[in-house]
Symmetry: C2
């Protein structure tokens, strides 16, 4: 294949026109970060804002991929054009598995776009790349944009909590409800799916969740808007409950629209993105200072001539405006 | 008990004189962070620099607490004055368990000081508080200072990787070796302990580790210094192998001294601390800007008048020197 020499503008126009290869190249730029990623984001910013963003997370083995695969097939059949961004913050090693799923899913659904995103062991990268990839899918007419992630840790809470609708998938017998509660997923979940609901213990998971929701809703924020996250029992591999999962997601979107919470979520998402970008830029400034003009402070701290605290303060004076 | 109205200077002098209550109060200040923590750190900075800092980590249930308890008893019996800082970054819920261990351990060993440190769900706090607590123990004459942490994630790698000697505890049948490899613990470990070595599978763990070390040492850094992390088989609860664990830790300290690596580790530790302090201070500056003079940029980004990228750049101009 000849080398693609198109500019970012040209690739973007082609991607908006439906060319999958152009979109793939832009997503690679977004994943790598830096000035090209920013340029793509700027272009997409003008055209985005229509997609319903759905985050789906849960422990490894909870059957998320199967569930997402079934949802995508149903959405395509209903004439929609869904995109899936599959991110795995904990393990670069499973990239292969996600890729395999991706190819199988796209084979079946030519109108869907499925992309896996590696993190290269750097969780900060995800916080920057995910919103840009979502914006690009959105600008290219994909709707809904589904972010699929693995695990119940802080990164998942951040990624999924920034969606319009956050779906948490659980299974019997893994203590998932307790884990999710600890990790703070309970606070960000809008829809719970108890998958593999034909297995023993499924009702226990439901009961645990119900109890925790009872407790958390006494003090919760969402309760002010009259919304309690529904619990859907499903068996994705048999197709049982998939319709109800999606209907519940759509009902949540309607709830957001009815209560003005959609705008609140959007603002929260932008704020989170700016915060992540600021943190990244500040970290880069600090690193380049420590390699350059600030190397002396660091050396003096290393040899205990000044304390780490003093070194930090002197570096801040070099770095920040309004430091005295 | 009357309220303790002593100044930080007075508390510090008392703690250096051996008063446990004063040391406890200073550790609480360190844990809370802020100006008082900085003041304690400044005082301790002048007197620290003697302690051998040992990091111990491993999965929950690997028997670390038992191992540490036995080591502490042996050290006290040998006339030393060890301190233990038990941190649990993943779960504030286990604080109680750690506290129970702590009380039992101190009951038996009046010359040891054991302190658990909660993270209050904020992993950044650990990166700031741990080095300060270690410095304070060091300045008060405790040696060695043992940092005990749970799990094999990034926080553990950071905390334990900043020690002079990093000990990773594994057990049969938990896939620990593979997990540790993924998390990057293999690169920072100086001593491996296969605990519960009387259980089936202990030799498999050893073989897995050996294989991984063979592979990693083809490209590893430490190999340049002729050091390969030893693997010690132990059964802490029976007391088997504990002597060998500590002898191996001491041998590693000797290796550090012989090769000049002790100084390199110290410098790395200071650099890591300054980096964490800078990140914290920059994050606070960014947050207060977004609440103050930068609120307008944020609002315009939220209403899509400017892109998140533009908002970030404008905020950076307000924040940093040398931005045009």
């Amino acid at each position: 294949m000849a080398k693609d020499t198109r500019s970012i503008d040209e690739l973007y126009a082609a991607a908006r026109g439906g060319e999958r290869r152009a979109l793939g190249r832009l997503l690679t730029m977004v994943e790598r970060g830096g000035p090209n990623a920013d340029a793509v984001s700027e272009l997409a910013h003008a055209d985005a804002g229509n997609a319903h963003i759905v985050g789906i997370t849960g422990s490894p083995g909870a059957g998320k991929s199967t569930l997402v695969g079934e949802l995508v097939a149903d959405l395509v059949e209903a004439g929609q054009q869904p995109a899936v961004l599959a991110v795995d913050p904990s393990s670069p090693l499973t990239g292969g598995a996600i890729l395999g799923d991706r190819i199988r899913m796209e084979d079946r659904n030519a109108n869907a776009f499925i992309r896996s995103m590696a993190t290269r062991g750097h969780s900060g990268g995800l916080a920057l790349a995910v919103p840009l990839a979502v914006r690009l899918f959105d600008a290219c007419g994909y709707n809904p944009v589904i972010i699929e992630t693995v695990g119940v840790g802080q990164v998942e809470v951040d990624v999924v909590g920034a969606a319009d609708t956050a779906v948490v998938v659980m299974t019997p017998g893994m203590g998932d409800a307790v884990q999710a509660n600890k990790a703070g997923l309970l606070e960000v979940a809008d829809v719970f799916v108890v998958n593999k609901a034909d297995r023993p213990g499924a009702n226990d998971v439901r009961r645990d969740l119900d109890l925790m929701l009872d407790l958390s809703h006494m003090t919760g924020q969402e309760s002010a808007h009259g919304y309690r996250p529904p619990i859907v029992m499903a068996s994705a591999i048999n197709g049982d409950g998939n319709d109800e999962v999606w209907a519940t997601v759509i009902a949540h979107r309607q709830h957001l629209a009815d209560t003005g919470q959609q705008e609140v979520r959007h603002q929260h998402r932008i704020r989170t993105e700016v915060r992540a970008r600021l943190a990244q830029a500040l970290s880069e400034s600090a690193e380049s200072l420590m390699d350059g003009d600030g190397a002396d402070q660091l050396r003096r701290a290393e040899s205990a001539q000044i304390s780490p605290n003093q070194a930090t303060n002197e570096l801040l004076v070099q770095l920040l405006k309004d430091q005295s």
